[in-house]
């Protein structure tokens, strides 16, 4: 083939990557024949009681984040500024529902009742973050809700899942790897949509900077504590926040 993807015009690129068809052909590559995000027949790893409890607590926190993102993405569809954003957010809602489902399935494999209240095992800071996100969604505040969900939450999840994969048992790592591939789309959508909006309306940056100061401490503490519970060395934990900090710096939200 002689063609070159990168010679394409931006408008048609965006039209394609925001489409349901693009999403469908993308996830087919890594989700087909992987029920609950893992290779069929792969062995259930043996974990000690301590390892099991730590993983259950961390997955419970992840579940809160995924459930919040499911509610957030679903709500955002109703007041998204254009049709392409609505369609993309519909695909994101499906992704978030799948993430919640595979994590609840992994909890069940650990012997945790997936119908029990996972919030009681989750990190309190993330519950507080979720409440603020849903406030923005209820207020139909597009910029704040998209920033909280697709920039702050998604980039922190991306970094945390990537770090967790390095030490996780093989089954959990494979499940997280599939989730990570979805997260690339979500955080990319958030950063690029906000970046275009800020170019048109620079005054919005100050308001989002204040929201960042309120919210990022909640998310940073959540994922740092989760990684500590999983035994991630202290020297590696700052890396979890680095990707997020680089993202907000590109958008001009430095402190």
């Amino acid at each position: 083939m002689s063609g070159e993807l990168h010679a394409r015009d931006h408008a048609s690129f965006l039209a394609e990557v925001h489409s349901f068809e693009f999403w469908f052909q993308s996830v087919e590559g890594y989700l087909a024949s992987h029920p609950y995000g893992v290779t069929p027949g792969s062995e259930l790893p043996a974990l000690s009681g301590t390892e099991r409890d730590a993983l259950a607590a961390t997955l419970s926190t992840y579940c809160v984040g995924e459930a919040a993102a499911l509610d957030g993405a679903s709500g955002l569809i109703g007041f998204a500024p254009n049709r392409a954003a609505k369609i993309f957010l519909a695909t994101q809602a499906v992704d978030e529902a799948r993430h919640l489902e595979v994590m609840l399935h992994r909890l069940a494999e650990l012997g945790v009742d997936p119908h029990a209240d996972y919030e009681s095992r989750a990190h309190a800071s993330l519950l507080a973050f979720r409440d603020r996100l849903m406030h923005f969604v209820a207020a139909k505040d597009w910029e704040a809700a998209l920033f909280a969900q697709n920039v702050i939450l998604e980039s922190m999840e991306f970094a945390a899942f990537h770090s967790h994969m390095q030490t996780a048992d093989p089954r959990t790592a494979e499940m997280l790897a599939g989730v990570l591939k979805d997260e690339r789309r979500h955080m990319g959508f958030g950063e690029n949509d906000l970046g275009r909006m800020l170019a048109r309306s620079p005054a919005t940056r100050q308001r989002l900077r204040a929201i960042r100061q309120e919210l990022d401490v909640l998310v940073l503490s959540t994922f740092e504590d989760s990684l500590r519970e999983l035994g991630t060395p202290a020297s590696e934990r700052p890396e979890v926040g680095r990707l997020y900090l680089e993202t907000v710096a590109r958008l001009g939200f430095e402190r």
Binding site: L5, S12, Q25, T247
Partner: protein, 119 residues
């Protein structure tokens, strides 16, 4: 059949004109006159996060020790390596499909080629 994305008849991978942004990206005079190398990129890296026909344009990044080829640049948004059918130069525009970003190739602090997000 012509694929609207992949078969752009006006595009010559050996040309320096297509995709150049005109912005200050650190391009040297040598960059502007030296012919570009062309690359045949295959779907051979196992990258599976975009539709099949686009997979050859990307590969996973193996971390800070991963040496990028002259036709590759790292996406700063999602840490995927973007591949082109031609040698990349400052000012070139590339797309990261996994995170839906448009990027411009620039000369970074260490003299290496980097990608800057263009919203």
């Amino acid at each position: 059949m012509t694929d609207p994305l992949l078969e752009t008849p006006e595009f010559d991978p050996a040309s320096g004109a297509e995709g150049d942004t005109g912005a200050d990206t650190g391009a040297s005079e040598d960059d502007k006159t030296r012919p570009r190398r062309r690359y045949v990129i295959e779907d051979d890296t196992g990258f599976d996060e975009v539709p099949r026909k686009y997979r050859r344009f990307y590969r996973r990044w193996a971390g800070s020790r991963d040496a990028l080829a002259p036709n590759e640049v790292l996406c700063p948004v999602c840490r995927v390596v973007i591949r082109s059918a031609r040698e990349l130069r400052p000012g070139d525009r590339v797309y990261c499909m996994p995170c839906m970003s448009r990027l411009t190739v620039v000369v970074g602090e260490g003299g290496r080629l980097e990608a800057r997000v263009e919203y």
